[in-house]
């Protein structure tokens, strides 16, 4: 599978990510910017809350009526000359796309998380096609043979120097003197020049979609670079990959979602390009004449199984990425530690559920642990524009994980659970042990070079490796309090 994760688990990869200086530098640079632009975008509207509620209502209803709306979409799209394909699994979706690309060699792609989800690029490459990701971030990630680390900014983990080196290696041409890093403007220009050639010669364009509009039988595409549109327009054949939950009823409903989507993602009031594809079109002579063929692949891959059950709310997600940008775990370890295409809080819920529909046992095991990587601080819930209760979904997933036989494994974990149960059932014991522990902590915080902080503790070395445990006034106050009891 596509994976850059070298370790076996989130735990290993997160630990490695914390020790990776260039990744940490990139995350630091990106983090603050996302938060500031989003909060500015919402602060400038007085009734931001009302706009979010409208978008939530639209998504709730669309998910509720998904079956009927999908059928309406299919009917309208077909009438306009668009082929609609239904895929139950990732494998089925891959073989539909492969069949549509049979005999075609040059393929350009707009950004599509669904295509990452079904690992389409590998399948196309194996079939002998040349596949070029055209979103600049995705292009960089593709050259580096990695997967996106952020759903909105796929190459957020790469520094300019790393990108310069990648471009030099893959584009060839005149060498710039070693040790000098070209400006980002130059790098953007170079990518524009090289990818433009790919657009002009493309036989198939594959894109994702932000929304399928049932009434119009059209796919809505939102980009800033215009790469999705060039992919859709330049090639003779346009294939749209869409998760079935991307459906909305009408353009009016789409407008309500658009108002919060770009604001949440990048702080813009609307993406630079919002396009609707699916119309029949007219020829130069004015008669109806579809000028190229368009295909929409509706991807289920575990989504219909979420419908109506405990995970139903997750289907509302509009993939804005706000929860990633506001997550203390994501902003510390980046997207790759999550081990799959969806990262951050939405990934912690979505990945285990979607992996269940697949056949990759290793992936299933790996992403099943993701809901545990949260402190439940709740910022994701606060910023979600469509009100998805991410933390409570994670909690439900944790419970389910433990209910299963493979849940609690290893004598250390079992012993720990037993100990906690014992302590919580006996308040006196709990208090006296806590007081003892705090005294010991105070002692440990007297060491050289870390007064007031504990640099290492037995049993939680994984935690203290990257940060110290502060033992401050409140800890001392707690001891006094406990002594009084």
């Amino acid at each position: 599978m596509t994976s850059v994760s070298s370790g076996k688990s989130f735990h290993d990869d997160a630990a490695a990510a914390l020790q990776n200086p260039s990744l940490q530098a990139a995350l630091d640079k990106a983090g603050a910017g996302f938060l500031a632009t989003r909060s500015r975008a919402f602060a400038s509207i007085e009734n931001a809350q009302a706009l979010c509620e409208a978008a939530e209502r639209v998504r709730t209803r669309a998910v509720h009526d998904m079956a009927d709306l999908l059928l309406l979409f299919e009917q309208r799209a077909r009438a306009q000359g668009v082929s609609v394909h239904w895929a139950e699994t990732a494998e089925q979706a891959r073989s539909i796309v492969l069949a549509l690309c049979a005999g075609k060699r040059r393929i350009v792609k707009g950004k599509s998380m669904a295509s990452e989800e079904i690992e389409l690029n590998e399948a196309l490459l194996q079939a002998g096609a040349e596949v070029v990701e055209t979103d600049l971030g995705e292009y960089i990630v593709q050259l580096a043979e990695e997967i996106p680390s952020h759903i909105i900014a796929p190459a957020v983990h790469k520094t300019r120097a790393q990108i310069d080196a990648l471009f030099r290696h893959h584009h060839g041409g005149r060498k710039t003197p070693e040790g000098r890093v070209r400006s980002s403007q130059t790098l953007v220009e170079e990518a524009r020049r090289i990818i433009r050639k790919k657009f002009l010669r493309a036989e198939v364009g594959i894109t994702g979609t932000n929304m399928l509009i049932a009434e119009r039988g059209a796919a809505l595409l939102l980009t800033n670079e215009g790469n999705g549109d060039l992919s859709a327009i330049m090639a003779e054949r346009h294939i749209v990959l869409a998760g079935i939950e991307r459906i909305v009823a009408s353009e009016k409903d789409a407008a309500a979602v658009l108002r919060v989507l770009a604001r949440s993602a990048t702080g813009q009031s609307l993406g630079t390009y919002v396009s609707l594809y699916g119309g029949t079109g007219r020829g130069t002579d004015g008669t109806e004449k579809p000028r190229k063929d368009m295909h929409v692949v509706l991807l289920d891959n575990g989504r219909s199984a979420m419908h109506g059950g405990p995970w139903h709310d997750m289907l509302r997600c509009i993939r804005c990425g706000a929860c990633l940008n506001h997550c203390p775990v994501y902003t510390s370890v980046g997207g790759h530690a999550y081990g799959w295409v969806y990262s951050g809080p939405m990934g912690k819920v979505l990945s285990p559920l979607l992996a269940e529909a697949g056949t990759d046992a290793r992936l299933k095991r790996r992403v099943a642990a993701l809901p545990h990587a949260s402190s439940f601080c709740g910022r994701c819930v606060e910023v979600c524009p469509v009100g998805i209760p991410l933390t409570s979904l994670m909690r439900k997933l944790r419970n389910r994980h433990f209910e299963r036989p493979q849940g609690i494994k290893g004598w250390k974990t079992r012993l720990g659970c037993l100990g906690v149960r014992l302590l919580f059932a006996h308040p006196r014991l709990y208090r006296s042990l806590l007081a003892l522990a705090l005294r010991l902590l105070k002692l440990a915080a007297r060491g050289k070079g870390h007064v007031g902080r504990v640099a290492w503790l037995p049993g939680i070395g994984g935690w203290t490796k990257t940060r110290d445990l502060p033992v401050n006034r409140s800890a001392r106050a707690a001891i006094t309090l406990l002594d009084d009891v």
Binding site: A54, R192, L200, R201, M234, A255, L270, G281
Partner: protein
């Protein structure tokens, strides 16, 4: 990968039936599809409801997104000066193109063959001669036709409307060739009538024709193409136009 079209269709029907059945089975309340919008009244940002002068709002937001409005004078700050008379569109465009005349060959100015008579009536095609090479694109045009000039300099296109709420230009393209005008050139030049500026996204969608009325694709364009994928630094002209130039006329 050889799938006969018959078995393909059968498999498609089976997958559809199973997916729809799973979605229906779990649906808490059964009912007809809500083909009408969920929201009986659109919820608009407060500032849109308050706005009186749509032109001012549109111009201000579009400029904030790096759109450039061509005027008769040299540099005009007032919005009112950015709305030019229709009769002077041709001259203003010529003046702009003259400043961009290349030293070598004349740059291309793409326009749609369906609109040829319109641009002729405005006197544009004749007037710009000497500054650029007006070139029509038609539905027969293939990507390959641009391999010699992968970066055509200019394109000229009419917007169906513009949105004050977001500073957006709306294009309803009837052919693939028209869509190329929106994305291929380095400088995208747009003609917009002041009366076609609407307040909200919803009002703009109403103006977009249906497929039955000849639409191929609709594009909402807010400023030139941009990317911030390298270290979150913003650059114009990622894949689409580097400049978006508007001729706003009365």
């Amino acid at each position: 990968m050889a799938i006969s079209s018959e078995s393909d269709t059968r498999q498609n029907a089976e997958s559809r039936a199973r997916i729809v059945a799973r979605l229906r089975e779990t649906k808490k309340a059964k009912g007809k599809a809500h083909t009408l919008s969920v929201l009986s009244q659109p919820v608009l940002p407060k500032f849109v409801e308050r706005e009186q002068g749509k032109t001012e709002a549109f111009v201000a937001r579009a400029e904030a997104l790096s759109c450039r409005f061509l005027t008769e004078g040299k540099t005009e700050k007032k919005t009112v000066a950015k709305v030019i008379a229709k009769s002077s569109v041709s001259k203003v465009l010529r003046d702009f193109l003259a400043t961009r005349r290349g030293k070598k060959a004349l740059p291309l100015l793409l326009f749609d063959v369906l609109e040829k008579s319109y641009w002729q009536r405005l006197g544009i095609l004749k007037n710009v001669e000497g500054c650029c090479r007006p070139t029509e694109v038609s539905e027969e045009v293939e990507g390959g036709d641009f391999e010699a000039t992968p970066f055509p300099a200019f394109s000229l296109q009419r917007a169906v409307c513009a949105i004050a709420e977001t500073g957006t230009l709306v294009f309803a393209n009837r052919t693939r060739a028209q869509a190329l005008l929106t994305f291929l050139p380095t400088v995208h030049i747009v003609l917009l009538a002041e009366r076609d500026i609407v307040g909200s996204l919803e009002q703009a969608f109403v103006r977009v024709p249906s497929s039955a009325a000849g639409l191929w694709a609709c594009h909402l364009v807010s400023g030139p193409s941009r990317t911030a994928d390298i270290e979150q630094k913003l650059h114009m002209g990622a894949h689409g136009p580097k400049e978006l130039v508007v001729l706003l006329h009365r």
